[in-house]
């Protein structure tokens, strides 16, 4: 039985685990964007926040993923359901690239343009939404792209705590020393990562200011 044969035969389960995987990555990315962009804006506008925010995000990034899943397990409400826990862990990992790129993107806007906007009487809010964020958008998007690609890979580990996703195949395959099973998890995960990378990369290029 070759690998493709296996995929076809188990297509229902492959599809189900892929959707689960997408859900874990999708929700955590949305959360990371909702939290990370405001934090990035804060650190770009008020330098006091820069070090604590980026420093914390950096430290989180250095915690080994399996250990982070383990650390979060005893937390009351979180530990009740494996997928909650996996989403929080993935969100924490996705924060750094989102925050950092938001920060870099906003700091990278030509100071002359910002000064002109202030001088013309734009309110700080108008300046942010009409000038800074649009001009930083492609840089922010490239941070989101990194976050998504990393999350797709990391989410396979979430299966270790029973959160589902394509990691299930991989862990099962490891336990049964079955390469086809491992590939059935790894190949769709790689395809997901590559298509996310390509799709968001295309969007990023389109939104890049001239």
């Amino acid at each position: 039985m070759n690998f493709f044969h296996f995929l076809v035969q188990n297509h229902e389960q492959v599809l189900e685990l892929t959707l689960e995987h997408l859900w874990l990555v999708g929700i955590s990315t949305v959360l990371a964007v909702l939290v990370g962009i405001p934090l990035g804006i804060m650190s770009a506008h008020w330098p006091v926040w820069n070090k604590p925010v980026l420093g914390t995000a950096n430290i989180v990034q250095t915690i080994p993923s399996l250990a982070l899943f383990g650390f979060l397990l005893p937390v009351p409400w979180l530990g009740d359901r494996a997928d909650r826990l996996a989403i929080l862990a993935l969100t924490l990992y996705a924060l750094l690239p989102v925050i950092r790129n938001t920060y870099t993107g906003i700091r990278g806007v030509d100071p002359a343009v910002v000064e002109a906007g202030r001088g013309m009487g734009l309110t700080p809010r108008q300046l942010l939404f009409q000038v800074e964020l649009p001009l930083a958008l492609s840089v922010i998007l490239s941070g989101i792209r990194v976050a998504v690609v990393v999350s797709v890979g990391l989410a396979t580990i979430a299966a270790a705590i029973g959160a589902g996703g394509l990691g299930e195949f991989i862990f099962r395959g490891l336990a049964m020393v079955n390469n086809q099973l491992i590939l059935a998890g790894a190949v769709p995960a790689a395809v997901l990562a590559l298509s996310a990378d390509f799709g968001l990369g295309w969007l990023e290029k389109r939104l890049r200011p001239r």
């Binding site: 002359a112 000064e115 002109a116 001088g119 013309m120």
Partner: protein, 260 residues
């Protein structure tokens, strides 16, 4: 009414000092009055405090001591957003928004002021003509324009909401000599028609003589002297004389002798 508005100062510096947070003084003891309809050129080398003075007018900077009065009232008391929208601001390299078309760039202040789309469109067309740009440039992006065109758009954008005061910070500094010459000439004719109160920053004596009704010479954060272009050429002040010497012959012919 007309009489008082042209003779009482539109902009007035009263004993203004500006010191950086680290204690370095950029400007001290500045007293200067700008009357309605005149073009005062702030002339000086880099670090002399001319840009600092300009930014104190629209409150991009706040004086450490003293006050800046605009239209007879301390500008610190007015709403900063309203104040800035009532003052046109042009900077070197124009500072155009790269993600907006020419039309949106010019129409920005009218748009946030809530003008109707129709009125903005008409105003943009009018301004493009005023600064000598083809109407079809309205849909272009700044990166598709030449340096001279960008600077014209910058001027049009500053004029959009018809402010009575115009602040210009080395607007023609980055342009090639021919384009600069042309824009200076157009500035003069524009100024003759519009009669704005202009504060113009430059380090170029030739430009100062040509465009200014009066020249305020700054050095190391202090106002050295305020002279008309003709007086400047004949001044005994050592710094003014040094400028005249540095810029060489032929200055007489450029000096602005227009009645103010």
């Amino acid at each position: 009414m007309e009489q008082t508005s042209t003779h009482s100062p539109v902009i007035e510096f009263r004993d203004v000092a500006y010191v950086l947070p680290n204690g370095q003084p950029l400007l001290s003891g500045l007293n200067l009055q700008v009357t309605g309809g005149e073009t005062v050129v702030l002339l000086g080398r880099s670090g002399s405090g001319k840009t600092t003075s300009l930014k104190l007018i629209n409150r991009l900077l706040t004086p450490t001591s003293g006050e800046v009065r605009v239209n007879g009232a301390p500008n610190a008391e007015s709403d900063v957003i309203r104040l800035r929208r009532s003052i046109g601001y042009v900077i070197q390299d124009a500072g155009l928004f790269p993600h907006y078309t020419v039309e949106r760039n010019i129409g920005l202040v009218p748009r946030i002021e809530g003008w109707t789309a129709e009125r903005i469109h008409l105003r943009v067309a009018e301004l493009l003509q005023l600064v000598g740009l083809e109407p079809q440039l309205a849909s272009r992006y700044p990166h598709q324009l030449s340096g001279g065109q960008r600077q014209r758009v910058g001027v049009a954008r500053a004029l959009a909401a018809d402010p009575a005061i115009l602040l210009m910070d080395e607007p023609f500094g980055a342009l090639d000599a021919l384009t600069r010459d042309q824009l200076q000439r157009e500035f003069l004719s524009l100024q003759q028609r519009l009669g704005k109160t202009v504060v113009f920053v430059t380090h170029d004596l030739r430009e100062a003589l040509r465009l200014g009704s009066r020249i305020a010479l700054l050095e190391a954060g202090r106002l050295v002297t305020v002279l008309s272009p003709e007086q400047f050429l004949r001044s005994n002040d050592p710094l003014a004389a040094a400028y005249v010497q540095a810029f060489g012959d032929g200055l007489d012919s450029v000096a602005n002798r227009g009645a103010t």
